[in-house]
């Protein structure tokens, strides 16, 4: 970490833009600038500025209704499925504004996978669930599909548990396994970023722990943004933490700092359970 920072600093002073983009561990995936969002008249996100780094786990915490899920869903524009949504500002994803007219949501969502609050496998076989993404993007070759399915299931650390029952309905396995199937399904479109919206809120503690371990594994290859109600989860698994309150980012810093020495009183009150 400190070496790459040093590299960055050196490149800044030398004005070598090229070099800083090669220092991959600190380059941005998402740079949000002055994002505002309204649901009808309800101003749900206010002047959000967030710079999200590659190959890190970024946790978003905050009380219910603070806008954390809304922000997450804005990152892949799923929020637009809600009627009467208006946005202003920019979200630069890899240098391109996702709100640009010529940026199709389908393209964005192929690069940015999503895992939802409740495990939501399709009522199809485990195999067809994983193959769904590749198929809609035009892959028909059975051999290639087989490879993608195995690779994705291995990536989600569930291959050994389901390899003999790929043709069974995805609802025949436990909730925790279903959620890992959903993670595998997201991996199958080979995304760059994975958004997770309270992925463990419907799971038991052991399944939760497995998902948390999986997140640690996945950050080697993906950038992960996770919304969680569970502050301890954010503390355990994230590198950076953003605290949202009433649609604003109150504090965004290294998770170490947020949880040991936050600079805003409201952050401290929230993480220490003294809120309100």
């Amino acid at each position: 970490m400190s070496t790459t920072q040093a590299i960055n600093n050196r490149s800044k002073t030398a004005g070598l833009e090229q070099e800083s983009s090669q220092a991959t561990s600190t380059s941005s995936v998402y740079d949000t600038k002055q994002l505002n969002l309204w649901y009808g008249d309800n101003h749900a996100l206010k002047n959000i500025d967030l710079d999200i780094k590659q190959n890190e786990v970024t946790a978003i915490i905050g009380p219910s209704g603070c806008g954390k899920s809304t922000y997450l869903k804005t990152l892949n524009r799923m929020v637009e499925l809600v009627p009467n949504v208006k946005t202003s500002g920019q979200i630069m994803y890899r240098g391109r504004n996702i709100f640009d007219k010529d940026y199709s949501v389908e393209e964005l969502r192929t690069r940015v996978g999503m895992v939802f609050q409740k495990p939501n496998p399709f009522p199809k076989s485990i195999y067809d669930n994983i193959a769904y993404g590749p198929r809609i993007h035009g892959i028909k070759n059975k051999k290639i599909l087989d490879e993608i399915v195995e690779k994705s299931l291995r990536g989600a650390a569930i291959w050994d548990e389901v390899k003999d029952r790929l043709n069974e309905n995805a609802y025949s396995i436990s909730g925790g396994q279903q959620q890992r199937i959903c993670i595998a399904r997201a991996l199958a479109i080979e995304p760059d970023v994975i958004l997770m919206d309270e992925p463990t809120s419907a799971l038991d503690p052991i399944s939760t722990l497995k998902i948390e371990e999986l997140v640690q594994e996945l950050k080697k290859d993906y950038s992960i943004i996770i919304v969680t109600h569970n502050m301890q989860q954010a503390a355990r698994i994230s590198d950076k933490t953003a605290f949202f309150l009433n649609g604003e980012v109150i504090e965004y810093d290294n998770t170490d700092t947020i949880f040991s020495n936050p600079s805003d009183k409201r952050t401290e009150d929230y993480i220490s359970g003294r809120f309100g």
């Binding site: 399709f122 009522p123 809609i136």
Partner: protein
């Protein structure tokens, strides 16, 4: 200071239990009376018509003589009618349902359309007959053909199919749509690959029940001008035809006592067809029982 005196509550318990049992009996009686009506109806029809039921009855055309009267033309005619009604009403109905649920914005126009569809479902069938007479028989000059009658029947059951399909589509959990959209699927891909497969049992069940209503309807056919006595089988959709309820209606309105038995036999055939269709609906519903 207590608000609930438990001793008094216990004292009053008996009276409450009596009222409880009384209402239970009333509701049971209500259910039994409906069942009783059905049993009497079935008993009467079977006792009247069973004697007349035979292979000949199914293979003979209509006749002036009760002993020779058969239901062949009506049975085949009804099947022809269904061959027109089923694709027309299901394609239009499911299409409208998909549009209203997945594509249409939630605005006043949609609400207006929605309200009209619900109202149409309540319009008497004879009114649809008049509509069919005006549009299909006369304006489009289809005459009293299978096509004209089929289109009229399709209009009649369309609102039912639309509402049932909307219900089925709406019951597909939003999370499945989210999952599909979240992977970059288009709306059409999501509808074809996720929503329709999940909604199809509900859509089919609703459609079959609607079709079984169409097969039993008489009023629109009378208004459209479907004849009763036909001594040949239709060979295409432009041919004229007759249908089961028409035939039964005709027999039961004849003065001879024997024709009442023939009518009863016809009812048994019609009810068997209805029962068959309903069992298919139940089978489909059970077979594709939703797993989410």
């Amino acid at each position: 200071m207590r608000y609930i005196e438990h001793d008094i509550v216990v004292k009053r318990m008996n009276g409450r239990n009596v009222v409880n049992k009384l209402f239970k009996s009333i509701f049971l009686l209500a259910t039994l009376s409906a069942l009783l009506a059905l049993v009497i109806l079935l008993y009467q029809i079977v006792s009247q018509g069973a004697s007349h039921l035979s292979i000949d009855f199914l293979t003979n055309f209509a006749s002036r003589f009760p002993a020779e009267a058969g239901i062949k033309a009506a049975l085949v005619g009804s099947i022809w009618l269904m061959l027109v009604v089923a694709p027309t009403s299901i394609i239009l109905g499911v299409g409208s349902a998909i549009y209203l649920e997945e594509y249409a914005g939630k605005n006043r126009i949609t609400t207006f359309i929605q309200m009209n569809i619900s109202n149409l479902a309540g319009v008497p069938s004879v009114v649809f007959g008049l509509l069919g007479l005006t549009i299909f028989v006369r304006a489009l000059a289809l005459g009293n053909s299978i096509l004209a009658a089929g289109f009229t029947m399709s209009l009649l059951i369309l609102p039912v199919i639309i509402v049932a399909s909307q219900e089925a589509i709406r019951s597909v959990p939003g999370e499945l749509r989210d999952a599909s959209y979240g992977m970059g699927a288009t709306k059409w891909q999501t509808i074809v690959r996720i929503i329709l497969p999940a909604a199809i049992p509900g859509i089919l069940t609703g459609s079959i029940l609607a079709l079984s209503r169409a097969i039993g309807e008489t009023a629109p056919l009378i208004v459209v001008g479907v004849p009763v006595i036909i001594q040949f089988l239709p060979e295409g959709v432009m041919d004229t035809f007759t249908a089961l309820p028409m035939q039964i209606y005709d027999w039961s309105s004849r003065p001879q006592q024997e024709f009442q038995q023939v009518a009863a036999a016809g009812i048994i055939v019609l009810m068997s067809v209805l029962l068959l269709m309903n069992s298919v609906a139940v089978f489909i519903r059970n077979k594709f029982e939703k797993r989410y």
